[in-house]
């Protein structure tokens, strides 16, 4: 893997979105991953619909939570994703109004990546942003910087929030993953990226 990487400055990441008062992080993590894949494979960055997943993904529970792995199979079964503009976000579940004719993107399959961080970094740099789930410990009060909780807090039993890995690197020898969250633009670290006068805020883990 290259020493650092950031898809935000390579056009593969849409602006930060806001899930509102709804446990729909899983939908934003998945659309972010598919947005990146569509950009890298088709050359177009489209902002895709989370509301479609809230309404039409019957395996998951909309604002009560969901799993990315279910969401990928729902996207396959539905026949694709509409854009954010065509099927805009409401922040609560409604009747499914997906229309296959309006789907702008589709996926063939989904895979599970290694949990080895070196392999993840290599995959991210070559293949695009990755949907991951983390422990949101401390994120309620996170303002900026590299967050490194004590190891016991990184237990898989405490996973409770899905986000998008958009890059990695290190600052003064502290390695970090850059994550794109879905809590709106008034949360997290605002960064200025090459090419983006003021980049979308993202947290740094």
């Amino acid at each position: 893997a290259p020493p650092e990487w950031d898809w935000r400055s390579k056009g593969a990441v849409t602006k930060v979105k806001d899930q509102g008062m709804c446990g729909s992080c899983w939908a934003f993590s998945v659309t972010g991953n598919v947005e990146g894949q569509w950009f890298l494979n088709q050359g177009t960055l489209l902002s895709l619909s989370e509301q479609e997943l809230l309404d039409c993904d019957k395996m998951d529970k909309a604002c009560m939570g969901g799993l990315p792995s279910n969401a990928y199979s729902a996207i396959k079964n539905l026949g694709g994703l509409e854009t954010e503009d065509d099927y805009s976000y409401r922040g609560h579940m409604q009747t499914c109004s997906f229309s296959a004719e309006k789907a702008k993107v589709y996926i063939n399959d989904s895979v599970e990546l290694s949990q080895n961080e070196q392999k993840l970094a290599a995959w991210l740099a070559k293949r695009g942003p990755i949907s991951v789930a983390i422990n949101a410990f401390g994120m309620q009060f996170y303002r900026h910087g590299i967050s490194r909780p004590l190891r016991p807090l990184c237990s898989p039993w405490l996973i409770d929030h899905a986000v998008l890995l958009v890059g990695y690197g290190n600052r003064s020898d502290i390695p970090f993953w850059a994550i794109k969250n879905s809590w709106g633009t008034d949360w997290g670290e605002k960064v200025s990226l090459a090419g983006l006068a003021s980049g979308p805020p993202a947290a740094i883990l």
Binding site: Q19, M21, C22, G23, C25, W26, M59, D60, K61, M64, G65, G66, L67, P68, S69, N70, Y72, S73, D109, S110, V111, E112, L113, S114, K119, A122, W123, K126, R127, A133, A136, F137, G138, Q140, F141, Y142, R143, H144, G145, I146, S147, R148, P149, L150, L153, W157, L158, I159, D160, H161, A162, R171, S172, I174, F176, W183, G184, D186, W187, I204
Partner: protein, 229 residues
């Protein structure tokens, strides 16, 4: 008698030589402070006060100590000769099964404590929380920070009771944020965010996704390698 389920919060002991209970963590903190210092340049422990909070098999010591730094005449150690100096330090030491971990060290020459410029109001107020007795103007300071929060994030509350409740949640969250700060080993800054008036339960219920922990979900094929399409 079984230990109580909730962590015990002992009150701050008065300044004085370290009490037997505080001696071990105080000495550990001093050793950490002196690590790497040559003989003759090490600081000496002065007065100590502090409190201990117990939870499970661990104890968290919040200490304040004065350290006496010896005069420094050796130009290879300090560029300018320095007379004897007293430092006021605050330490947080975690003791788990006899193993000490220094969670926080904060030392300044006496009377020149400089607040954290980036998060000034937050840390200076929190140090107020640690004072004993609480200063009279603490409510005023808290209220002004809370007011800034309400204006910044355009909060509205249905009633005065609701506002008062939210203020108490806000204050409690500031203490929680400081604890998280103390536990963090990176460069992250924790403090006031748009979620600062939500209880942990509210935040977890509204914004987080417990399903991620509970259900395995649809099984996906593992990717073989980076090159695997």
């Amino acid at each position: 008698v079984a230990a109580p389920a909730q962590p015990q919060a002992a009150s701050f002991q008065a300044w004085g030589p370290p009490s037997p209970e505080l001696l071990a963590p105080a000495r550990f903190a001093l050793d950490m402070f002196n690590r790497g210092r040559a003989a003759g340049t090490r600081a000496v422990l002065g007065l100590v006060r502090g409190r201990v909070r117990r939870a499970g098999q661990g104890s968290l010591y919040s200490l304040e100590a004065t350290l006496e730094e010896p005069p420094c005449k050796d130009t290879t150690v300090c560029r300018l000769p320095a007379s004897k100096k007293t430092l006021l330090c605050s330490f947080e030491v975690l003791d788990e099964l006899g193993k000490h971990v220094l969670l926080r060290k904060d030392c300044d020459p006496v009377d020149t404590k400089v607040p954290d410029s980036r998060n000034e109001t937050f840390s200076s107020v929190l140090s107020l929380l640690n004072e004993d007795p609480l200063p009279q103007d603490l409510p005023v300071k808290m209220a002004s920070i809370f007011k800034n929060f309400v204006i910044t994030y355009n909060r509205t509350y249905e009633s005065k009771e609701e506002a008062r409740w939210r203020l108490s949640v806000f204050v409690n969250n500031m203490v929680r944020a400081q604890k998280i700060q103390a536990l963090d080993r990176g460069t992250a800054q924790y403090g006031v965010t748009k979620f600062s008036d939500l209880t942990e339960e509210e935040f977890r219920t509204i914004y987080l996704n417990p399903l991620l922990r509970e259900e395995p979900g649809n099984k996906m094929k593992p990717v073989k390698s980076v090159g695997d399409f």
